[in-house]
């Protein structure tokens, strides 16, 4: 499902060149739960951006569902993100002062999906994400951290994406809530979702079935737990 070959990424800031990725290759199959782990500056965020079609690599190839993503233009990348990828961010990134329902329905904006179906799918996604019932019309700023992250997970699920990309999803949560969120990911994985988790905490990475360690832009270890 995901096939990366020799991915490189170079950032240029004036005369200074930074090599964030120096040739990364791996496969991820459907239904896997992979944690990409590494200290800050290791290149894991860059890798996440490329896997999430938020950015394109400087070199190498990236196939997602047999489609070459590394050469797409801005609109095509949007299309890929829209159809194939569900994001969960560290800082939740919910729309401020907006209801839970509307936040979850955001990815369905400007599509042909009817209002009725949007709502039905949002409610279904919220149930999958373990969000308690009766909070549909609460405003995003009235939720607890754990609730916000579950809304974000529901938002990632609504388009039934091929992969869910979670970037430090527990970074802003306490230990107990982190466990709840990670169990949610495990449950989703057991239901067949492919999940890629980016983290710097080994403890969190332990929830995954496979751990890829990155250091200095290269894969250090790739182990199945």
């Amino acid at each position: 499902m995901i096939e990366c070959k020799n991915l490189t990424k170079t950032y240029r800031n004036g005369d200074v060149e930074t090599q964030a990725l120096r040739g990364v290759s791996f496969h991820i199959k459907k239904g896997e739960f992979v944690a990409i782990i590494g200290p800050s500056g290791s290149g894991k965020s860059t890798l996440m951006s490329i896997l999430g079609a938020l950015d394109t690599p400087t070199g190498g190839t990236y196939f997602l569902d047999d489609r070459e993503v590394s050469t797409l233009d801005d609109d095509e990348l949007s299309e890929v993100r829209h159809k194939k990828i569900g994001f969960v961010f560290q800082s939740f990134n919910l729309l401020p002062r907006t209801t839970v329902l509307r936040n979850v329905m955001l990815p369905l904006l400007y599509t042909d999906t009817s209002e009725k179906e949007r709502e039905a799918r949002a409610i279904e996604a919220l149930r999958y994400a373990g969000m308690e019932e009766g909070k549909l019309y609460s405003l995003s700023n009235q939720l607890s951290g754990g609730q916000m992250q579950r809304v974000a997970i529901a938002r990632a699920l609504i388009n039934r994406p091929a992969i869910i990309l979670a970037d430090e999803p527990t970074g802003n949560l306490d230990t107990k809530t982190s466990q709840v969120v990670m169990r949610t990911f495990q449950k989703l994985n057991s239901e067949g979702h492919t999940i890629i988790l980016i983290t710097h905490e080994m403890e969190i990475a332990q929830y995954a079935k496979r751990i890829i360690s990155i250091r200095d832009g290269l894969i250090e270890k790739d182990i199945f737990v």
């Binding site: 994001f87 961010f89 990134n93 400007y110």
Partner: protein, 405 residues
């Protein structure tokens, strides 16, 4: 689907930030309303002054005596006694293109009637005065040629003079008033005409010119001669003929030494127009400043709004919303804000103009050009500063936009 989605998004995002949207709209409203009101006051003043001047008469030329020159001291224009009834007769018989002509001799007198008294202008003139000065009768009639010949002691009152002497809307025809030491029978009341800026025809008493000469002033000198030209095109020719004729009659060879002056209504109008034009420019520049300040306010608000929402734009991009829909949404938001602000501003400015004319007694006139200009500037500022930064944010990579602090 897309259009309803955009409209819904616009509605939600504007109503989610009511305070911010409200303040942005307020900036636009104030800018537009102040421009419209200020310009309407200026325009109204211009129109009403012009109308007042027109109301004095149509195609009017007024000849007044010049300064009285003694050995070295000038007494000021109008003080001289250089115009006499024969001048008026000569103008009537020798100048071509005259429609009507009326000499008058005016002075202020204390007038009493039944215990009340007032001090007002007594105008001794001829029946043609009505034509020349566009005056019409309300009650009774004006005096006629026969009454002039016989120097009859009859008087026609202006409505204000009547109100002062007999009470508002009274009909005093048949009663008498005392001017100086003579009693005059009232034979008519003129219609209200409104102030003309120079003298108020409503607050005057009209009597036959010969009566004034015989019983009040005791001399033959005229205060002015009013001439109505046949049409606007002949005014200049009439004015020149009168000047030549009077110079000859008064034995003056040097024009600059003329002992009379001729005032052309067009000159008064153009002078007044230039004054009110200056006035309008003054008001418009004040309004322009408020529009500028309003514009900067809109700009500020829009820039803050968009900067604040860079992360939101990043999120929208991350979940796969295409750039053009993000652009469209922000453009629609900017348009919505400026349209709401614009419409409210126009209505408010218009209401303010009405209020000014109602409560401050100034005539106002809402000019379409000021509405268009104010609306255009506000809309342009709002749309440029709402759309341009949003476009820039939409062009950022989603990661950069998401990390934006």
């Amino acid at each position: 689907m897309i259009i309803t989605d955009i409209l819904k998004e616009v509605f939600w995002s504007l109503s989610a930030n009511k305070m911010r949207s409200g303040l942005t709209v307020l900036g636009i409203v104030i800018g537009i309303a102040s421009v419209i009101t200020m310009v309407s006051i200026g325009q109204g003043a211009k129109t009403s002054i012009e109308a007042n001047i027109e109301a004095i008469g149509s195609n009017l030329i007024i000849i007044t005596p010049g300064a009285q020159r003694g050995a070295a001291v000038s007494q000021g224009r109008g003080s001289a006694q250089t115009l006499i009834a024969d001048d008026a007769t000569a103008i009537r018989s020798e100048v071509q293109g005259i429609k009507a002509l009326a000499p008058d001799t005016s002075r202020r007198y204390q007038i009493t009637a039944k215990g009340k008294n007032t001090n007002t202008q007594v105008i001794g003139t001829v029946p043609e005065y009505l034509t020349v000065r566009n005056i019409s009768m309300d009650i009774g009639s004006f005096f006629n040629e026969r009454q002039i010949k016989t120097s009859e002691k009859v008087a026609v009152l202006g409505p204000s003079a009547r109100d002062d002497l007999f009470g508002i809307h009274a009909n005093p025809v048949g009663q008498t008033i005392r001017i100086g030491s003579s009693d005059f029978a009232i034979i008519g009341i003129t219609k209200t005409k409104g102030g003309s800026g120079f003298s108020n025809p409503d607050n005057a008493v009209y009597v036959p010119i010969t009566t004034v000469q015989h019983f009040l002033s005791g001399d033959e000198f005229l205060s002015s001669i009013s001439v109505a030209a046949k049409d606007q095109g002949s005014m200049l020719a009439v004015q020149q003929q009168i000047e030549t004729l009077l110079l000859r009659r008064h034995n003056i060879t040097d024009k600059t030494q003329a002992d009379f002056s001729i005032l052309n209504q067009n000159d008064i109008i153009s002078t007044a127009s230039s004054i009110t034009g200056t006035f309008t420019i003054l008001l418009s520049s004040i309004a322009g400043i408020s529009l500028l300040v309003g514009g900067i306010g809109i700009m500020n608000m829009m820039l803050t709004t968009v900067t604040e929402r860079t992360r939101e734009i990043g999120l929208r991009k991350a979940v796969g919303v295409k750039k053009r829909y993000i652009n469209l949404q922000f453009l629609a938001e900017a348009i919505m804000l400026t349209v709401i602000g614009g419409v409210v501003g126009v209505v408010l400015g218009w209401l303010a103009s009405l209020a000014v004319s109602r409560f401050a007694g100034l005539t106002t006139e809402v000019a379409l050009s000021s509405v268009v200009m104010a609306f255009g500037v506000a809309a342009a500022v709002g749309i440029i500063f709402g759309f341009y930064p949003a476009r820039r944010a939409a062009n950022l990579s989603p990661i950069e936009a998401l990390r934006y602090e």
